[in-house]
Symmetry: C2
């Protein structure tokens, strides 16, 4: 069985928008955690308020196909609409060195 994949998604969020962003992220999480292949997620917030990426989400999915199906599902666009205004840099990764 293949190793799970890791989504790393870095968000550009202006400081004053932080609380609204978190609420929108929670709504998106609530939707995605109901989808097949979802394992876990962790929203990271920068220690420094002026970080280029104030938030980074790191999530685990069973397969890349599961993740792609989830974000292309009928409910995703509505669940994630609150995040649409924030530039995001998502990609799927695997660990190659420790």
């Amino acid at each position: 069985m293949a190793e799970p994949v890791t989504l790393i998604n870095s968000f550009e969020v202006p400081g004053p928008d932080a609380e609204g962003f978190i609420i929108a992220w929670e709504r998106t999480r609530d939707y995605l955690e109901s989808q097949p292949g979802y394992i876990s997620t962790a929203l990271h917030r920068a220690v420094a308020p002026n970080a280029e990426f104030q938030f980074v989400n790191i999530a685990r999915w069973q397969t890349a196909e599961d993740f792609m199906a989830a974000i292309q599902s009928a409910g995703f666009r509505e669940a994630a609409e609150g995040l649409a205004g924030y530039p995001a840099h998502p990609a799927l990764y695997g660990v190659i060195r420790t």
Copy 2:
């Protein structure tokens, strides 16, 4: 005692440079893991070869001060010189939601 902090560092690396980047990253890791406060690290490589950030390093340190001391230490610049040519986006984070 404070929670450890998480370094998330996204690197822009052209595809043909990947093997050289990994060797340079390993040299930097070998240095940093000898420094006080180092806990662990994991180099992530994108599944898709055209990802904006082909590599993302996620490391744990006991405190932000430990990490800052390590990258300002005398040996760091030499150990990390092979990474200097790659645009990097490092910041320290804590988990706020799961």
